[in-house]
Amino acid sequence: MNATVHPLRKYARPHVTRTTTCPGCGNGIATQAILRAIEELDLRMDDFVFVSGIGCSAWIPSPFFAADTLHTTHGRPVAFATGVKLGLPEKHVMVVSGDGDLTAIGGNHLIHAARRNIGLTVVLMNNGIYGMTGGQTAPTTPRGISTVTSPYGSLEHSFDIAPMIVSAGAAYVARWTTHHPRQLTKAIKKGLTKKGFALIEVVTQCPVQFGRASKLGGAVEILKHFKSNSVRIEKARKMDPAELLGKIVVGEFVDIEKPELSSEWTRLIHSMREGRQ
């Protein structure tokens, strides 16, 4: 019997045969988008160091990807990745983690990495809730939704991550949902080729926790919700804020060229060496 092997299986550690994600999770879509981007760019896993934090989406590269992987403490993957990138400026350093990890406990590191424009590619999985710990309110949970830590409905406003990271100084920021796997793959490719800090926000479904809290339902229902509520940024720019309430603005938020930190360090060290000779 010939076993059917997934065309992206070659990028995974051979002995890892299971993932930890729940049925209907968006992690699989993002995993495929990341690996397709790597394949289409003709990159090798040895060109990468993957860094992740704590939470369901941090398990996308670790232990699955057959590459150097650093699974860090909660909120800190961007800070760890900053050291990795400065030590190995020629490698692609990709951070994969969630909205709680990267914008709540780790928010400070995220905005500062964007400000420094250090050459990291950050895939931020935004499911609007803490999945792994059992459905608590996140800084991304839409206002009004009831969770286990906001049983009377969340009173707080939520982060709009992509524009926040544009303001912080990133060279490339895009947002897509798991209903847009092709656009997502393309954005990750662009992030990987960008010389500078690249953030790809992936609005993703957590049917187990967010589906229940928001009463949106299962994976299919949430994906349909993404489809009917996504608005391209070009169109959104012409719309009133009132019209955009509850909508998900998708597309490229910024794509600029500016000096990148690790290559600036290489340049400085090189020029000092030249100066001494």
Binding site: D46, P63, T82, G83, E90
Partner: protein, 384 residues
């Protein structure tokens, strides 16, 4: 062992913090991350200028948490990495010091201690962090910490800290304080070819499932990133290959115990003490800056015919229990001098009280250097 590539050889007159930075440069340090804090800032300030001259990088981070994390990341990227801070920064770093312990990452942490708790007094030295560096991160582990008593030792022991970190794949603390950090004294830096450095061992087998990367009491080679070794590094409970395992009790046991045993079985090679108490009736037990007052007090006492010796703990962690037991078995009186309320005192008493009288003396006011005459008074009281 390899020889240092560069060292600012010569006789210098400068601050302890300067000596520490030059010690790190001689030790091959090529990555420093830190956040401004008194009384440690001079190390970072000087490194910012000095490191690029020797091909290294200085990163001023958004906080001390980012400093320790980026230093650990840089170590995995193959750098010899250091962070420098004071007590409040150590408090912020604690969670990720545990990460370095758990992932067996060689890094050096300079703690130029100041008076606390909390924001305390930034510019006044105090040995306030002695226990927090050993026990401050959650879970169970062992730590290595060295206590310099002079600017010269801030140079020497910074090199030793790097060598120990690379030998055992562990974070190593240098426990300076505001006094010796800011003290100016003669510092002799030997030529580079007289400075021995421990080189990092890196595995050659490409498949992580066919090699041991972690939990080797004899210290596993470090599968640094960027060499196609597919290292899997996690601080969650993991097996010898670095693969997460949260189900097998035997793996959990090894995950906690083997990094502890790695340090304890090499205790004899790690622990360093200075003993000067032959035929003494009383030993002054000290570490760090206070050792200077202890020597002065011992001299005063001997001039008055009192047989007083000294025992200085250069390594305070792992705790030099054998040296304490030895002193207690030979001398009837131990006087523990610390610039705090008595942080190592209970540990010393536990090893010594069965054989010897053990008492404690802090400075008259915490944060002041012990007055040798006050020590002498206490000595006379104990020997009366």
């Amino acid at each position: 062992m390899i020889k240092a590539r560069t060292a600012l050889a010569g006789t210098h007159f400068d601050m302890g913090n300067w000596a520490c930075a030059e010690g790190a440069i001689a030790a091959g340090c090529n990555f420093v991350a830190g956040y401004p804090i008194t009384p440690a800032s001079e190390v970072a300030n000087y490194m910012a200028k000095r490191l690029p001259q020797v091909g290294g990088i200085f990163l001023q981070t958004e906080d001390e948490i980012a400093a320790i994390c980026s230093v650990i990341g840089a170590s995995w990227a193959g750098c010899r990495a250091l962070t420098v801070t004071s007590g409040p920064g150590i408090s912020l770093m604690q969670e990720n010091i545990g990460f370095a312990v758990s992932t067996e990452t060689p890094i050096v942490i300079i703690d130029v201690q100041r008076l606390g708790p909390s924001t305390g007094v930034p510019s006044i030295g105090m040995a306030g962090d002695i226990v927090q560096v050993a026990r401050g991160s959650h879970g169970d582990y062992q730590i290595i910490a060295l206590c310099p008593e002079s600017p010269q030792e801030m140079f020497d022991l910074t090199i030793r800290a790097f060598n120990i970190a690379e030998t055992y794949r562990v974070p190593v603390f240098l426990m300076a304080d505001g006094f010796i950090g800011h003290m100016r004294e003669q510092i002799i830096i030997p030529p580079a070819d007289q400075i021995d450095l421990v080189e990092r061992r890196v595995p050659t087998v490409a498949d992580p499932m066919k090699r041991q990367d972690f939990l080797d009491i004899g210290v596993a080679p470090m599968p640094v990133f960027g060499k196609g070794l597919q290292a899997h590094v996690t601080s969650s409970c993991h097996d010898e290959h670095g693969m997460r395992n949260l189900t097998e009790p035997a793996v959990m046991h090894r995950y906690v115990m083997n990094p502890i045993q790695k340090i304890l079985t090499h205790r004899d090679q790690i622990v360093e003490v200075r003993e000067d108490y032959v035929n003494a009736d009383l030993v002054l037990v000290t570490y760090g800056t206070v050792s200077r007052s202890a020597r002065a007090a011992a001299r005063l006492a001997r001039n008055q015919g009192l047989r007083v010796g000294t025992l200085r703990l250069i390594t305070c962690w792992p705790f030099p229990e054998e040296a304490i037991r030895k002193a207690a078995s030979r001398v009837n009186n131990l006087l523990v001098l610390e610039n705090n309320s008595g942080q190592l005192y209970p540990y010393i008493r536990a090893e010594a009280a069965h054989a010897s009288r053990v008492e404690f003396l802090g400075p008259q006011f915490l944060g002041q250097i012990h007055d040798p005459n006050a020590i002498l008074e206490k000595v006379k009281e104990m020997l009366a």
